[in-house]
Symmetry: C2
Subunit: 553 residues, 2 copies
């Protein structure tokens, strides 16, 4: 049996585009002689469709797409994912389902049993877990189809009490297929490989896995669909961060000896992408899809001469083309000459558009207007923030006048400790680096310069500064970033206690200060743009914290 794995980029709620894309892939697979083409989890609706799923009309539109897809599915079968109605009077209203369609007819309905409801996932908000499991029978083979999390039965600390494959294996399937919507995070490809290999080996069956590719606001799906043989060995791996359709011949030679045979010799991705290049590619895809799926194509950003905005500018040019990127230099009285020069050098290196708009007269006009109120009071954070917010007003005016989307340039370290101005540098349609720690910003900048200077070396080497008062440096207010980022990672990613982090060798006063800063900054993070997620724990929908809470604050 020749099976096509279709790793495609869907758009949430865009039924017309998703359906056409699926139908095109079916036709292509048919022309290539495939018997079955497999699409990803919830491909018809896009993932995550979130509370759109609570609209009956939205669910009806999914079934409407099925009709069109089924009509196109002649002399070939397909597996597609979609939300379906739970017609039982008990339980949640929907299932997270897959249809097996053969010759225009839905022959088998498979439902997801293990519903992730942690981090960015809210599946139990919508779906009833399945409690019945049946193999698909097709062309003399039995296929055990599961949906994403269904295979993620953590051995040491299982959070689910049932495992669909333990039921399906009793029906003696010949192969396993898993359709997924598994977003990117650094190291997550390794975790997927472990889980898939474990399952293939445990059940002694070949395993075909199809993931989404493409970004949906903050979630970036990296693709990397895979095929494992019945010994748990990786047989092939699809592209990362790109659409791809690949074909495999699966022959039935008995369960124990079931094998995966590729139509043409394929080699697994031997030179795996480095982690920093994965982040690089993820951010490019994240920006590109945010714009494309929002119907925009031009970006603007404030270019300070510092490393964060320089890096965002590079990524924007790589995603959208330099001709679609407008860098705005917004010097103030406290901007150093080298800052302006560094920004100008970057613009030259990239070939993007740029404008320079001095903010001195604007901040002066605010200070004059506030003179009666502020008379006699010293310069402090109020005046610092006026600068940052004046820049935001200009950038947003550029957006409103010319149809740009503003890119936010805050990094994860700043966002964590609240080192940023709400409605100032924390503005933007999408945060590019909000899940990238400052130390990773340096790493990624050096990576981008690996074949020659793109980001001016001075932006990388000079001490980081917000330049909101004379001689200001980040290190005046914060621990050095190599210390800060390690503490942040232990707290945010690993959820360690202050005691445990101190026991790791960090100074007690520093740890307590950092954790307190994180916890008193929730009100700021609540109002910031969605953040492209590249770690296992990003700020945003995957980390939900009280605002008026008092813990560690």
């Amino acid at each position: 049996m020749k099976i096509a794995l279709a790793q495609l980029n869907y758009h949430i709620g865009n039924f017309e585009a998703n359906t056409q894309k699926i139908i095109s892939a079916i036709k292509e697979a048919q022309q290539n002689g495939a018997d079955l083409v497999v699409f990803a989890e919830l491909c018809i609706s896009g993932y995550p469709a979130r509370d759109f799923l609570e609209f009956e009309e939205f669910i009806a539109l999914c079934e409407n797409s099925v009709k069109q897809i089924a009509a196109a599915c002649r002399d070939i079968a397909c597996i597609i994912g979609l939300p379906t109605v739970n017609s039982s009077p008990k339980g949640k209203d929907l299932y997270n389902s897959a249809y097996f369609i053969e010759n225009g007819v839905v022959k088998t309905v498979v439902r997801k049993a293990l519903l992730p409801n942690y981090d960015v996932f809210d599946e139990y908000r919508y779906f009833e877990p399945a409690d019945q499991f049946t193999c698909i029978e097709y062309k003399g083979q039995k296929i055990a189809l599961t949906i994403c999390e269904d295979l993620w039965n953590n051995i040491d600390n299982p959070i689910y009490k049932t495992f669909p494959m333990d039921v399906l294996i009793l029906q003696k399937p010949d192969l396993m297929i898993n359709i997924a919507a598994s977003p990117f995070a650094v190291n997550h490809d390794q975790e997927r490989m472990q889980v898939l290999s474990y399952n293939a080996k445990k059940y002694a069956l070949p395993l075909l896995y199809v993931n989404h590719v493409g970004a949906q606001t903050e979630l970036i799906f990296d693709g990397g669909s895979m095929v494992y043989d019945a010994n748990g060995q990786l047989f092939d791996e699809l592209a990362y961060f790109e659409e791809q359709i690949a074909y495999y011949n699966i022959e039935k030679t008995g369960v124990k000896e079931a094998s995966v045979r590729a139509e043409k010799p394929l080699t697994p991705n031997v030179s795996r992408m480095s982690k920093i290049e994965q982040i690089h590619q993820a951010l490019i895809l994240g920006i590109r899809d945010y714009f494309k799926k929002s119907g925009f194509n031009k970006a603007t950003l404030g270019l300070s001469g510092g490393i964060d905005s320089a890096l965002v500018c590079v990524l924007a040019c790589e995603s959208l083309g330099p001709e679609n990127v407008m860098a705005v230099l917004l010097p103030s009285a406290f901007s150093s000459d080298h800052s302006i020069k560094d920004a100008e050098d970057l613009v030259k290196n990239l070939g993007c558009m740029s404008q320079t708009i001095a903010i001195k007269n604007i901040t002066q006009s605010f200070e004059t207007a506030l003179e009666p109120q502020f008379a006699g009071l010293p310069f402090n954070i109020a005046e610092e923030n006026i600068q940052s917010r004046s820049r935001a007003v200009i950038l947003m005016a550029m957006c409103n006048k010319f149809g740009y989307i503003l890119l936010n340039t805050s990094n994860k370290s700043e966002a964590a400790v609240g080192y940023g101005t709400l409605y100032g540098d924390m503005c933007g349609g999408i945060s590019v680096l909000g899940d990238v720690y400052k130390t990773q910003v340096y790493e990624l900048s050096n990576h981008i310069n690996r074949n020659g200077e793109i980001i001016p070396q001075n932006s990388i080497t000079k001490p980081p500064s917000a330049e909101l008062r004379p001689g200001q440096k980040d290190s005046d207010s914060l621990p050095d970033y190599d210390i800060l980022d390690r503490i942040l990672k232990e707290y945010i990613e690993n959820r360690k206690s202050s005691a445990a982090i101190i026991a790791d060798g960090f100074k007690e006063d520093v740890v307590r200060k950092v954790l307190r800063l994180v916890n008193i900054s929730e009100h700021k993070r609540y109002q910031t743009p969605p953040i492209l997620r590249v770690s296992a724990k990003a700020f945003g929908m995957g980390r939900r914290m009280p605002i008026v809470g008092k813990y560690l604050s």
Copy 2:
């Protein structure tokens, strides 16, 4: 048996304050001769503690509080709610539990089975559902203790497959107790009463119900703890929006005849608060607790002369005292004289502080700075938004200089259709009216004026306008609010399809325009302040929508 119901205002993660409050109530109950004092669901941690629950240290601090409470619990018993560790290797890490503590010892642990995971609730993110149920035995009586949702077994469309009381009733309890964390929404008190009455009658047992009171950022707990007799009749109802401890004698006279006997005659709240007064009280409590629990006491807001900011100013004065409210008038070239006068009249009526800061020179300085970029282009939304954003910069500067929190004045109708300026009038620490439709803003304003003019009548009667260009009126861009709000309610609250709303008699083009505006404004709402929730479907954590989605847009 004399039972005290303790309806208290907790603070998430503030273990010291919560524990002291619980211990004080135990002592008071003991002095009043109570045998048992009942506290609300998850009272030790506060509700909702959200991802704080993922920190082992946080859970350990809950158990630490239990030790202190148990030590104070001599010659009296208490029921307290807290998260506890699931020590089984399978399932989620925690339970949503209640401890029955008698004479310093935890005698019985009860766990919640039905875990709400819809709207604002995320309990399945953290908790494993209970599958074992045991009555508490105390002083010769058997108590069937359940936790909030455990009793919410919707008859027509149950979303859960198990019902704890169906198991507990087999153990022949003498009474039921339900501890809850049930946030306010208009009409929700009626739903609670229906559910409680239904259960009391169905199981023929008296039912004592204890709720939280007080606000936790957007969620406002209204109290209204209740006692039902075994016939399903309301016996007593505690205060709404206030802390209260009340006492009841429960005598065992056989299950069927079990009765609730109050120590002293009590009359149920016969003159129920009107719905608009409920919203009024909810918003006052919401503002007050947001400030108190954040450690702030002074508010500022931009006072335009329009009805929304006027209403917010009144509510702020009622919550915090007029001496803690700074109203800032920020007239522009397009502000009408009556706007300034209306704002000044309100300030006089309320006795709050005020300042007037003209923004003309500021907006002029932006326009001058942008002249090279904007030359030859017509005045449009870019210049309109510069005004709104300039005001925000001033208001935030006042906050930064003087320690105010900015109150957001957007209403739900505006927030729904994106009629507001991001980083402009959409700024603020908390949104007071973001769950109050414009038509309700009028209703509430008239209610506030019921005993004499507080809000100038002109603010109520003049046509609403953002005053960002000459002669601008809301009705230039939007349908009349009485039409708009009804369409919005059908779509947002009732999740009706466009076809169904059109079938209700609204014009097709208007319906399609409104729904499209709602769906293309998600990116704006994502970055707005938390919104005090007074309806069953507020924007924010209870309504989770894709940003790059294409549905109806």
